[in-house]
Amino acid sequence: MKLQCTDLVKTYGYLNAVDHVDLTLEQGKIYGLIGRNGAGKTTLLSLLTAQNPATSGEVELDGQRVWENRSALDHLCFSRELNISPETGLGNIKVKEYLRIASVYYPHWDAGMAQRLVALFRLPVKKKLQKLSKGMLSMVTIVVALASKAEFTFLDEPVAGLDVVARDQFYKLLLEEYSATGRTFVISTHIIEEAADVLEEVIILREGKLLMVENVQDLLDSARYVSGRAEEVDAAVTGLEIHHAESMGRSKGVAVLLRQGQAIDESRDVTVQPMSLQKVFVALCGEEEKA
């Protein structure tokens, strides 16, 4: 089963929040969706799950359009970040009710799992959503995402508001569920480094455009940080793809993405270090330093 979007565009006014994105999501992988605030992550996830109408382009599950398609929607779950404000009328709904509605709409809903997770997170089921802390709201979305047992499950910032211990718990639960079922998960997150180990592939979005879709290990194998005297660094990386050059006095540091067969000239007096996923992301999507 594949979820595919072709030339997907979402325009608000003059701005393309999602700008001609072509993406194929395969079954049985954990994808990370990363990008700066406003890069279009939530919009993309909404479009993929037919919760927003696209301005143009198609979203298809196994060749069938997802929009208004009951059988396709049965395989998808988008558990979005709950921002309960007085403007949304949802504040008055109790956690119990929210979960009940989820159980009605998700055809593969696992009530036992939902119950276990509610107990594990100590969620106050009788409380109204507006009375919950941000952390508890995140836990509610995590319960829905995991218990939905949907083949393609999308989580938008699932760990926002969770403390470190709870985040660790989440990654472990996610892996456990993934190992047991092989469901596809797409997780958008800002806490890149923590999630990096858990992801198989990473999708990087920049200003609405798809920058890359790469296997995390392959990406990290090809990314290196080269530093030393400016002239040495420049000589060592000639002809290579560089990003985010930073200078301080006579020294310079630059991130390099190696292609197949390329190598850094290590005869030069430079320090070559591996990069973390977070550093790679900042190199690719951070602002270029003005020379």
Partner: protein, 119 residues
């Protein structure tokens, strides 16, 4: 294999290194089963595909082999093979950085040899 993962090296390489070290230390014996990718994933909170990459690396090198339907096992002669491999790599992974550092400090070969003999 109770070490922690560090940030300095690819995770799948760390996994394969750890398994190799365990074999060298006799924690994993030849013809014994090694932890499955799911078990490794659970233990280190990493993606099973990453764990699999580390294991496949060792399978390619002949250090592990697969028994269909059961799992991955330590190959006969693995210990010796790992020893050989690490000896060969010793020059690159440990010696070359040492020599580079010595050069940048201006330490001569004679001084270096004297230091080694004194240790």
């Amino acid at each position: 294999m109770k070490e922690q993962l560090t940030e300095s090296k690819s995770i799948y390489l760390q996994i394969s290194d750890m398994i190799e070290t365990d074999i060298l230390r006799g924690i994993l014996l030849e013809e014994e089963q090694v932890p499955s990718t799911n078990e490794l994933a659970r233990q280190y909170t990493i993606n099973p595909a990453t764990a699999a990459k580390g294991i496949n690396l060792l399978v390619e090198e002949g250090i592990l082999y697969k028994k269909r339907g059961i799992g991955m096992f330590v190959a006969a002669g693995a210990r010796e093979a790992i020893n050989q491999k690490r000896r060969k790599a010793f020059g690159e992974t440990h010696l070359a950085p040492l020599l580079r550092e010595a050069e940048s400090l201006g330490v001569t070969r004679e001084e270096l040899i004297a230091m080694i003999q004194d240790k």
